[in-house]
Homo-oligomer: 354 residues x 2
């Protein structure tokens, strides 16, 4: 959006924002009714009559949804022939786009109506449409479907891609004991155990998350290598124990406000020895390679506002480095956009002079 827009273009852009929700739902309907898929299967194009013949959808639905899809640039229509566009192809086939749409529709859509209220109260006022919890983290393991599936697919999409390279980075110095702070379902810990036969892990998280992680660990026969410690890091009295070679925080700090992040990092500081390495894995929105990623990450911040906890967000990399510094750590290495991911790893140690 760097070039100067004409008034006509700017008015058009404003309407795209104004009608974003209803056009979003038209794409969901195109997908749910199988129309987009049918068109996508025929790259040379199909006629409206063929769509009506093959799919059990009313003429009204097909005509109107194609009018919407054409306006959105999701299909191209020439005469009687409908073809999927590149945008339509991404809506249909791209995993990032699929995961984002489902997350928006199943987790965020209804709750987003309460955005102003969420900002005013500093609480996720949209969350009540899914359940009665102070934050979504207490409810994760019992979210109603399809919100639960869509939440976990979204979460894993944005972290799984980072794991292979992250493992290489973390295990370069062959740590014996890793603290997985906010370990959630245990995915990272299990990946570590698979990567290195000797490493031991301690997952620290809220009780409700630990229950799930423990069950998953049992299913994988990893209870002898993984310990579990209940901790609420918003309570400064609950200390992270000492003894870790690596303290790992993967997409964890973005769940908190700046003040809370400093408090959590100070907690890690008291637990760390001069030899402990603190790794922070985060998708920073301002060091992405392409605009779709930046766009997705800022939207994810808005999800934190309305559904997650009302006060956290994705950060700029410079802001996170300031918070790290404030807590007494220094960033000794930055690994930007590792693997095919949106994530950067900050490798941190206690400051020498501290």
């Amino acid at each position: 959006m760097k070039k100067e827009l004409s008034a006509i273009e700017a008015k058009y852009e404003a309407q795209k924002i104004a009608f974003g929700p209803i056009y979003f739902q038209s794409v969901v309907a195109l997908r749910e009714l199988g129309i987009l898929q049918f068109i996508g299967e025929h790259r040379r194009g199909v006629t409206v009559d063929a769509i009506l013949e093959k799919l059990d959808v009313s003429e009204y639905s097909v005509h109107l949804l194609l009018e919407a899809a054409e306006v959105l640039g999701v299909v191209d229509i020439e005469g009687d022939i409908v073809r999927i566009s590149k945008v339509g192809f991404f809506l249909l086939k791209d995993e990032m786009t699929r995961v984002n749409i489902n997350f928006m529709n199943d987790v965020c859509y209804l709750g987003a109506k309460n955005m102003t209220e969420s900002f005013v109260k500093g609480k996720p006022e949209g969350l009540k449409v899914l359940g009665d919890w102070p934050t979504i983290y207490e409810g994760l393991s019992v979210l109603p479907e399809p919100a639960k599936t869509s939440w976990f697919e979204f979460d894993h999409y944005y972290s799984d891609n980072a794991f292979p390279d992250a493992l290489k980075i973390v295990f370069r110095k062959k740590p014996g004991l890793i603290f997985d702070i906010g370990g959630n379902t245990g995915k990272w810990s299990f990946a570590c155990c698979a990567h290195d036969e000797e490493v031991r892990i301690k997952i620290l998280d809220l009780p409700v998350q630990l229950k799930v992680a423990k069950a998953n660990a049992a299913a994988k026969n990893l209870l002898d290598r993984i310990e579990f410690q209940e901790i609420d890091l918003l309570d400064a009295a609950q200390k992270i124990p000492q003894g870790a070679d690596v303290i790992w925080m993967s997409q964890f700090l973005d769940c908190f406000s700046k003040e809370q992040i400093v408090q959590i990092l100070e907690n890690a500081y008291q637990a760390a020895s001069p030899e402990t390495t603190l790794y922070i894995l985060e998708p920073f929105f301002d060091n992405q390679n392409y605009p779709a990623a930046h766009y997705s990450l800022v939207a994810t911040s808005l999800y934190f506002t309305i559904m997650a906890n009302g006060n956290s967000k994705m950060y700029r990399i410079g802001v996170m480095k300031e918070l790290v510094d404030k807590a007494g750590f220094e960033v000794i290495e930055t690994y930007p956009l590792i693997g095919d991911s949106y994530h950067t790893i900050l490798e941190c140690r206690k400051k020498q002079q501290a």
Copy 2:
């Protein structure tokens, strides 16, 4: 969207669709919290600190909403200075955009979640979030606020601009009696009475609408010039009476499906003499001057699906002319985009050979 997009651009466009709802709500929040207005009042730009000082909004809210606004192209940020963009200016000041956003947020947003279901059932399955009526027309006069205000502002925005030129066209032949079919609150009828001191009007509509129109007419001292006739035009047994010089249908036929439109026009046909002129005023989405208008009108069709009646839409001008022909009328004159409006008037007579 005519130019060929690169894969990176197409992926970006797909994310704009995917996150449309949450970014829409971020713009609503920017507006409701007064942030957009404050920035707009300082065309040379303001600092974030100035926003925080002047407005009672948290630092978190301002930072995140500005990150979202920057991604959307609603503000431009250079260093510490935030300026409103042209797109932001339209969001703030343009009446069409204001009316569209309110209509989306207050009338359509929550109901749009039921779009697929609405298409499948051919019923406005989103309407239940506002009330328990088969169509929105039964509920118009008792809609909860703010939906009611936003609905009427939207409706009037898209018709008021057309009235001055429409009056000139309709009164060229000085009609003595006009039937205002689907006259709703009576705005057109009152405009006619103000335009011509001698004209008499008969408003034909559903009972619930007539009640409102009658009260409005009483307040304007027009009960001696306007008659009211209850009619449900979906019931083919209820006939439009004879005797009109002009039969007027303003943004009325778009409330119905193609089959219903033919039935209504056939009803008008039996009521018309060879001298009766039928005027159809409609915004046809395919003969608009700029893309924002086309975009708005197709979105309005989707509103019909989810909230209004589940089976009507804005039409292409060619489709409407076919339906007119099918009912026995011929279009003797087309007045495209009259005044500063989105509307075209089709002037019709019974076919000579009929």
